[in-house]
Amino acid sequence: MIDQVSTPQVSVATGDFRPRVKARQRIGAIWRWLFFAATTLAIVLLGMLLWSIFSPGLSWLSWGLITNPPSRIPEKAGMNPAIWGSIWIVMGSGITAFLLGLGTAVYLEEYATRGRFNDFIQTNISNLAGVPSIVYGLLGLVVFVDWMNMGRSLLAGALTMALLILPVVVISSREAIRAVPSSLREASYGLGATRWQTVQNHVLPAAFPGVLTGVILAMSRAIGETAPLLVVGGASQVLWRPDGPFSTFMVMPLQIYNWTGRPQKEFEHLAAAAIIILMIILLLMNSLAIGLRHHFSKKARW
């Protein structure tokens, strides 16, 4: 549309105005290409990253990698305990963060009165989302592992991860709750419903798809995090899948980290194959988020 701008119809009295249509269009075109370059640069880098993982890793993909415990013989090595560890950690932290995060969001959006205290909490939650993940690891080490005496257990790991993703869950849940039209609440109050009845029957069902998407995306972040669990988990070789909240554990990123540090080249290739599996699981989780959102938003009628 902009391309069709022609000489202005209105004559300008001051005489300072020069249309310079060609020049402006050229500048516009330059910006367009700069933006395009920014987009493609990211895609090219992603492509290079994928290539550097797939070219050594593809030939090392096997069922054994999923079903076997780690081994010093690269051909026999797998990451079964790490996959189970990741599943436990992600489910545990997801459920914890969902309950705490949704509770916080409902309180802040529906109950809290606007004021200094509310602003203070809001600022802090936003800041927490930007804290480096290693800091959460140290927090988890001190609070859960030492003070609460959980040891380097699955439970301590899951709770640490829950803290890490909590701010993201709170923020996305608040957005989802805020997106519920206030006419819905007003109608409910108008019919004599209490605040809790309104929240329970109208706000939460309507906000649910957004909340769920936020939680699943936060869980995808948790599954790839290494630093906090390096501090809290500590283990580098676990041959058994976790069998309870207090058992020691291994997660996929730590297994990859362990393999890349070994002298034998085969383990680097194995690590590349493990990264492929981690990426597949991540993609599955993200598509689940999209699918759920789609499913629930079809149900919503307002």
Partner: protein, 349 residues
């Protein structure tokens, strides 16, 4: 493929095969290893959970031993961590772990912390390693270095910036240094042996990840670095090991020269430290340590380490047996006294 000679009584074999299918690599081969280990009949029934932690150098060896032990004692769950020798000793001294992997001997303050927490300990030699000084394969002038030259390169007051500062006929190009970080036992050992009391320089590229050091040194003909022998061995096509001259002629690190002790002063012993209380009160810890000591000679080469000479392995095994039945007092009892008499612990046991 059977790399372990492991003698099993018929009853335990039945118990194990009933419990796991992982028995396949354990054929009843006998006669190659220096030490033969006889598993008790009830080994399949042993249960328990304990942790090992410590050196990243020794980590893969302990992990391999754990992996093999899991095949015979499937209900004993051992996890291994890699917190570095220092980090491992800290957890060990706090009583968190039963076994600490160490690429150097315990320090006084670490032993003091253990004593404070009532943790007695034994030190067992498990394998040999040689810290290997490397240059890139593209480097065509460095073949050997004396200990004195190495000290000048790495000391803060050595005054070396170019290769010509080391030897006059070498190029006047900047020397690029790569080495492990300060948490590493390799770093401590190298500085103690090469620098003695001199301060180490800080203007080098440190990394806790030995593969990063490999990449750095391999990438530049003017680079020099050091790390464990296994990382050199796996990258021998892009790296060149520098022979080290201790005053008796230059010796290149190899399985032979490290094994017979002629690669000095950078040849070293890798140890595990085992809690005396755990060793004597928990049969699963005792069995694992026995198993580890008896099979270290066969596991070590498979993961890039050099096995102890036969007599040293036998000595370690005998010490393990003595430690378990209590006839040998914990090394922690004699630590202070021994420190004054002989500064470096004997590599034999």
């Amino acid at each position: 493929m059977s790399f372990l000679e492991y003698r099993l009584s018929r009853r335990s074999l039945a118990a194990i095969t009933a419990g796991t299918v992982a028995i396949a690599p354990f054929a009843r081969v006998l006669g190659q290893g220096a030490v033969s280990y006889e598993a008790p009949d009830n080994i399949g029934d042993l249960e328990g959970e304990f942790e090992a932690d410590g050196s990243s150098t020794l980590g893969p060896l302990t992990e391999a031993a754990i992996e093999e032990f899991a095949a015979v004692a499937p209900n004993v769950r051992i996890t291994n961590g890699i917190s570095g020798t220092g980090g491992g000793f800290e957890r060990f001294a706090n009583g968190e772990t039963a076994i600490s992997n160490a690429s150097r001997t315990i320090k006084e303050e670490e032993a003091a912390l253990a004593a404070e927490n009532g943790v007695s300990w034994y030190q067992f030699s498990m394998a040999l390693d040689g810290i290997t000084v490397v240059v890139s394969a593209e480097n065509d002038f460095v073949e050997d270095l004396t200990v004195e030259e190495l000290a000048n390169i790495w000391a803060a007051d050595g005054g070396v910036t170019t290769w010509a500062d080391v030897r006059a006929d070498w190029p006047a190009e900047n020397i690029e240094l790569y080495g492990p970080g300060t948490a590493s036992g390799t770093f401590d050992f190298f500085n103690e042996e090469i620098l003695g009391d001199r301060e180490v320089r800080t203007d080098y590229t440190p990394s806790e990840d030995d593969n990063v050091l490999v990449q750095g040194v391999a990438g530049s003909p003017m680079a020099l670095g050091y790390f464990g022998f296994s990382y050199y061995e796996e990258n021998a096509d892009t790296l060149k090991a520098v022979a080290v001259d201790n005053g008796d002629g230059a010796v290149t690190p190899s399985i032979e020269t490290i094994g017979d002790g002629s690669y000095a002063p950078l040849g070293r012993t890798l140890y595990i430290y085992v809690s005396g209380n755990e060793l004597q009160s928990r049969p699963e810890v005792a069995e694992f340590v026995k198993f580890y000591a008896a099979s270290s000679d066969e596991i070590a080469p498979a993961v890039g380490y050099i096995a102890l000479p036969e007599d040293a392995e036998q000595a370690t095994y005998d010490k393990v047996l003595g430690a378990i039945d209590g006839s040998i007092a914990p090394d922690s009892d004699s630590f202070g006294a021994e420190e004054e008499a002989t500064p470096a612990a004997s590599p034999a046991a």
